[in-house]
Symmetry: C2
Subunit: 195 residues, 2 copies
């Protein structure tokens, strides 16, 4: 087991809060406060797991995907593109547009990527903070395919296995790597396993 | 002049687009695609400029502040907190709440920081992508003051000097550092100066 996985597990066990309805609060690590050394270690771990995949670009979604994607992009020395949820006026020209339900915001959100930053033929690794239902990740996969890029894998910091996103995403036939798996959140507990 | 400033200037000159109405598109560097080595170099530069300030925490605002804040937090080895614009369900307990107009979204946005991540007495450096009108930065300053933290400075990647945010923020009497200054965007030009 890598030290990044070990550290992450310890921090989630110590600071994570089970808010019920399968919602895990890890705001102190990556969703509001950023523990930068821990994020960087997670980025190195992701880089190692995809070292033989010749990844040329990372795609993530704002907001909480940015920190882990940036950490992995630093370790892999490749650019990161983050899908925008609200189109800023600075985006013009063709975009790839998908929608996905947001678990923590309780609404459907857009995922928008300028075509200029996802040129055909890139070898893309998708990164996000959580693998839960997998619906955000599925929308990002659709963007990668619309762009005629090659999807080489999916990496997330935390996987909630009971939401079965991995099963839904298995049809894409690419490696799915997560650093810590949440096995159960029943009875207010948080039961973790190494990813 | 530092190499980060030089690189940034060259990249903005080459890739920046003047969209009119004072809007500068630098999506290829930090607002949509992230150039990680360049961001990291900017973070190092900010760290050097505040090296003697004993900064203990960085505060920024999602979305575009996260990358430069993370780069500076890595260089300074301190945590980053990013103000959320939409309250996710994972935030509970007391928050600091301010509003600010968004230049690129054309609406008023909330800036929300959990009190737990801004304990009194922290020495806070505020970081954002742009210093324009200064209104987002002013709202972040108000949050720092509400938290009874000490504001030690403000750092941004790009300053649009013609929007005069620096003048408005001068009342806080802290160093304001920006890496590249946009002197003029008249006639479709982008005139830059070292920051």
């Amino acid at each position: 087991m890598s030290s990044a996985v070990q550290l992450l597990k310890e921090r989630i066990q110590a600071e994570g809060k089970n808010l019920g309805n399968g919602i895990l609060k890890i705001d102190s690590i990556l969703n509001h406060q950023l523990d930068i050394p821990l994020m960087m270690a997670c980025g190195e771990e992701i880089a190692q797991r995809f070292a033989d995949k010749n990844v040329t670009r990372i795609l993530t979604a704002e907001v909480s995907g940015i920190a882990p994607a940036m950490a992995a992009g630093h370790a892999m020395r490749i650019p990161v593109v983050y899908a925008r949820k609200i189109k800023p006026v600075t985006i013009f020209g063709p975009v790839f547009l998908e929608t996905a339900p947001s678990h923590t915001k309780g609404m459907e959100v857009n995922l928008i990527v300028s075509a200029e930053f996802l040129p055909a033929g890139e070898r893309v690794l998708i990164i996000d903070d959580f693998l839960a239902s997998g619906k955000t990740l599925r929308s990002l996969v659709r963007i990668v395919r619309s762009a005629e890029c090659e999807l080489v894998g999916i990496a997330c910091i935390v996987e909630k296995i009971f939401e079965e996103g991995r099963t839904m995403l298995s049809k894409y036939n690419v490696p799915i790597e997560t650093l810590v798996k949440v096995i159960s959140m029943d009875d207010g507990q948080i039961i973790l396993e190494d990813g």
